[in-house]
């Protein structure tokens, strides 16, 4: 297999931009109409999640060894789209037809063969991983909403009970979809540590005009069913071998995964001291502060400090949450979660103040981008 030829040809094809996924999907749906229903109604190229990844992953087949865990995870995760082994040739056909179309004369039989083999290799890794996973976990979990509370105009706390045991680690997220917004998947973080009754909490904030978040905050009700993919992400999880004290810095609904860490410390120990700084623009946006203050009175090792940036009348701590939190830094592991902007600014401040990089854990969780963890 000529890996360089794969990369070069993908590079060429990718130059056609939005036309590429458009052609790919039209071909796929014409040749294999049964796959149409698996994808969202709008296939707007800028939010295409499959084609660019497909080209990138397959054309990097020469480095497949490094990528195997990721590809396996992708294969397991594809079960939530109801993808089965029989669908892979269809996507392979559409991919090759797309390459042929955009490469024109450069599409030689030798190149075709290389792409075919590379695709089949990646597909095999995904299918095998999916098969293996099917022995131990369902393709997706279903969670019945048993609590839905709007704590501010645009933030809701949702509790759902999952139908099967769901092993996840505090700090992780999963992608969710539901009948009101068919086939749209978005990531949300768990705001709790695993519980025996299989319930999970989500904190969802509306993104202006956001398709999924708006429906979760204003549309769904108790009794509605959420479809839940496998848990993902390890950037905000605790290292059990490193039982250091914690400094948690949250912005907006970024407090969800950090609250899960607090619960984990409460359940598991060994007890660490935890300083939890919760940032918001106005005091009205400190949506979960009551629950956190209650935890604070229960646990002597926990201190919760709300910090408000844009509210001159606020009587508590005012300013940027990073600045206030830095005053409490005594060498703890630092966890940051919030909007992309907030995380960026906070991490910069921390580094400037001398917090070592390897002690800063962060994830941009509440941005509208729906980026993969």
């Amino acid at each position: 297999m000529d890996a360089q030829a794969l990369k070069d040809s993908w590079h060429l094809v990718a130059r056609s931009g939005d036309q590429v996924p458009l052609f790919f999907y039209s071909t796929l749906f014409l040749m294999h109409p049964e796959t149409r229903d698996m994808f969202p109604v709008s296939m707007a190229a800028q939010r295409d999640r499959l084609v660019s990844a497909l080209g990138r992953i397959v054309s990097n087949v020469d480095r497949v060894d490094e990528a195997v865990p990721l590809i396996q995870q992708l294969g397991r995760d594809h079960r939530k789209f109801a993808v089965v082994a029989g669908h892979y040739p269809a996507v392979g056909h559409a991919l090759l037809a797309t390459l042929q179309h955009f490469l024109g004369d450069r599409w030689t039989p030798a190149l075709a063969n290389d792409w075919k083999q590379a695709y089949e290799l990646i597909a095999k890794v995904m299918i095998d991983a999916a098969d293996a996973a099917s022995a131990t976990s369902p393709p997706w979990w279903e969670g019945e909403i048993i609590g839905h509370e709007r704590l501010t105009l645009d933030i809701a706390v949702i509790r759902a009970r999952l139908n099967y045991p769901y092993p996840f680690r505090p700090g992780q997220s999963a992608s969710f979809s539901f009948a009101l917004r068919p086939r749209l998947w978005r990531f949300y973080s768990f705001a709790n540590a695993p519980r025996r009754d299989n319930t999970i909490d989500l904190h969802v904030r509306v993104v202006d005009g956001g398709t999924v978040s708006t429906a979760l905050v204003h549309g769904v009700q108790r009794g509605d069913i959420l479809r839940v993919g496998a848990p993902v992400g390890d950037r905000l999880t605790l290292n059990p071998n490193l039982p250091r004290d914690l400094l948690l810095i949250a912005g907006g609904t970024g407090l969800a995964p950090l609250k899960a860490l607090v619960e984990q410390v409460a359940y598991e120990g060994p007890t660490r001291r935890v300083h939890f700084f919760v940032g918001a623009r106005t005091s009205r946006e400190l949506y979960d502060i009551e629950a956190l203050t209650k935890l604070e009175t229960e646990y002597p090792w926990l201190s919760v400090v709300p910090v408000v940036s844009h509210d001159v009348l606020y009587r508590g701590e005012r300013g940027q949450v990073a600045d206030v939190a830095l005053r409490a830094w005594r060498g703890q592991e630092v966890f940051v979660c919030g909007s992309g902007e907030m995380v960026g600014a906070t991490v910069t401040r921390l580094v400037e103040a001398g917090v070592p990089n390897e002690q800063i854990h962060f994830d941009e969780s509440t941005t509208g981008e729906g980026k993969e963890p």
Binding site: T27, S42, Q100, A110, A112, N113, D114, G209
Partner: protein, 215 residues
């Protein structure tokens, strides 16, 4: 007349005739049919059929050889033609283009509706923040006024009562200013946005509705 059972029928279908079988076929004489077909005619016809079949077989063999030759040629060029789908799209470019255009139209409509919703909510949120700020300011003023009024009222003064007076005035004014303005707008807005979000999957009518209202 012998009855033709399903079994007979199917087993016969599985065994194709060879030209030789046709050539050597013996017809049993129909006992009562004195005036049968001319044997000569039947025979010469069968020979013709056999010849044509033989010709067909040869053509098939030639074609098969040609296919093998082509397959080998492709294989030597590095292509696998065993799986005809791979790399050999069976759909016409016209069909792909038509579907692509339809998808683009749908995407554009959805994007426009989403953009509309985004601006709608964004503006509402700004309005909301502004209203709250205003309310807060007016409530602060009301609280100060209330304390002034309390002090000049000549009632026995206590710090606690003063604080209470000011808080009540604050809250009353805050609630008055915000409640009236916000409730109606926000509930209506939430409904509007929900309608927008569910548009693509439901019906075309729903899809164009918010747009016409918008435009």
């Amino acid at each position: 007349m012998g009855e033709m059972t399903w079994e007979h029928h199917s087993s016969r279908d599985f065994r194709p005739l060879t030209p030789d079988q046709v050539r050597k076929k013996q017809f049993s004489r129909a006992k009562l049919a004195r005036r049968g077909y001319s044997e000569e005619e039947v025979e010469s016809f069968l020979y013709r059929v056999a010849d044509e079949m033989a010709g067909g077989d040869k053509e098939k063999a030639d074609l098969r050889a040609e296919i093998d030759r082509l397959k080998n040629w492709y294989k030597n060029q590095g292509a696998d033609v065993a799986d005809p789908g791979m790399g050999q799209p069976r759909v016409s470019i016209d069909a792909v283009n038509i579907l692509s255009r339809a998808q683009q139209t749908a995407d554009a409509q959805i994007a426009e509706a989403e953009d509309y919703a985004r601006r709608l909510v964004g503006q509402a949120r700004q309005q909301y923040e502004l209203t709250l700020q205003e309310a807060q300011q007016r409530a602060e003023e009301a609280a100060v006024e209330a304390v002034d009024a309390y002090r000049s009222s000549g009632v026995v003064q206590s710090a606690e009562a003063e604080e209470l007076e000011s808080r009540i005035a604050y809250l009353r004014t805050f609630a008055e200013v915000t409640q009236v303005q916000l409730r109606a707008v926000l509930e209506g807005l939430a409904n509007e946005v929900n309608k927008l979000g569910s548009l693509p999957s439901r019906s075309r009518q729903a899809a164009t509705d918010p747009l016409t209202r918008h435009g």
